[in-house]
Symmetry: C2
Subunit: 257 residues, 2 copies
């Protein structure tokens, strides 16, 4: 499991360890960070806040109070239609930003809602421009994170537009596992899965009933175990085969599994 793919550089750094923030762990996997940069990134997260499960961090149409960095927990970006239909666009996991590029126009185009108890750091969006100005390596890291967000949302569109129910679900589970793994929050063959089946349905563009059936199918086929709050992956291979999962869009250098 600790093996790195041949040819990919093993990025390691004495300033990054298990006590580092998820953001540092994430960026440290992509960019070789100096000690000064690690220190800077940790300092950036000095101003913290907690949100209980279910709380709204930002409302659709309202102004971002700040740029958020997720330190612990899951946040969903979602749109609610006038008749109550809901679509979850994507998840912000530990190490992810919310409102990274919001600076002079701060109006949000979606709700950001805590799916679990969550800890975030708050920073002035103008500090992001400072990073771009003064920290070229970190600026590259932010660009990478930006592109990755695009890719994740793009894959979400492919799932919704052109994949079957089972494909959508398998693909999502793999994406979440890889993303969590990058910040050391995935299990060896499992992940915390704090979504209700209704949340999953609003992510996958399906009805709650159909999500239930699809989960059951995957369980009965021996591909996953699922119970409230946790998914265990019994066969990465089968999951990948169904989803036709290609992890490159998540773009870490080293990929496990």
């Amino acid at each position: 499991m600790q093996d790195l793919d041949a040819g990919t550089p093993a990025i390691s750094h004495e300033a990054i360890d298990g006590t580092s923030s998820a953001l540092v762990r994430k960026l440290g996997r992509m960019v070789l960070l100096s000690t000064a940069e690690v220190t800077f990134l940790e300092g950036l997260q000095a101003n913290r806040a907690k949100f209980e499960k279910g709380r709204e961090l930002v409302a659709d149409g309202a102004e971002y109070p700040a740029t958020f960095i997720v330190r612990r927990g899951w946040v969903a970006r979602q749109k609610i239609l006038e008749d109550g239909r809901r679509q979850i666009l994507s998840f912000a996991l530990p190490g992810d930003f919310l409102g990274l590029h919001v600076n002079f126009r701060r109006v949000a185009a979606y709700d950001a809602v805590a799916l679990t108890d969550t800890e975030v750091a708050l920073l002035d969006p103008n500090r992001v421009l400072e990073i771009y100005r003064d920290y070229p390596i970190l600026a590259s890291g932010l660009s990478w994170a930006t592109v990755r967000e695009f890719n994740v949302l793009g894959e979400q569109a492919v799932r919704l537009g052109r994949r079957s129910a089972a494909e959508r679900m398998c693909h999502l589970l793999l994406e979440l596992w890889y993303r969590l793994d990058l910040v050391d929050e995935a299990g060896e063959r499992s992940l915390e899965f704090p979504l209700t089946q209704r949340d999953a349905s609003d992510t996958l563009g399906l009805s709650q009933v159909h999500v239930n059936r699809t989960f059951r199918y995957l369980k009965e086929a021996g591909i996953i175990d699922y119970s409230r709050g946790t998914v265990a992956i019994r066969s990465f291979d089968k999951l990948k085969a169904i989803a036709a999962f290609e992890p490159e869009y998540l773009a870490p250098f080293q990929l496990r599994k």
Copy 2:
């Protein structure tokens, strides 16, 4: 038509006129640009290339040769699945970037394909970092453009996940009209629509046949006229009513219609 919504600032500038590039027209609608900034943006687009309809600008999995700025024509970002299924993620219209945030890792996660004969400007992705470093106003403009791209892709996910066929189509048509209008490429009540019905189906997550039926329904209901290459909007109100269209996510200050 020249009326601006009450309360929204009329941004105008003697350095911006009909001969300006689409990028300048677009950013000039959001940010008050100095003459120096306009000149800089035009200079940024000195290195140009043309792509014929159908040509690929970037291939999924390949490296971006450059950051592109679309000057004329439409480009589709799309993913092709192994069995041939296709999903168009979004369109790059005049004034839009392709690969804006690609700098140290340039691998594309989708194909970019010219839907019409297209003219683009090519620039070194590192120049984007220079803009962030040296041109704070333009940096804000790029952040705005980035957020807008996110919002557009987010709405695409909502269309695909939670809207009916007719809603998807109406919503897309309105989005395209507003985006084109911002760069003065929309008609009063019409837009160039270079997509085949197959392209439209791969954008909307429908079959080609169903797109055909939905177009016909909208024509027979007197809401649009559609013929090869052009859509005329007979009723913005009906279109908006069906789509529940809220243009705020496109975030220009002044909105027509």
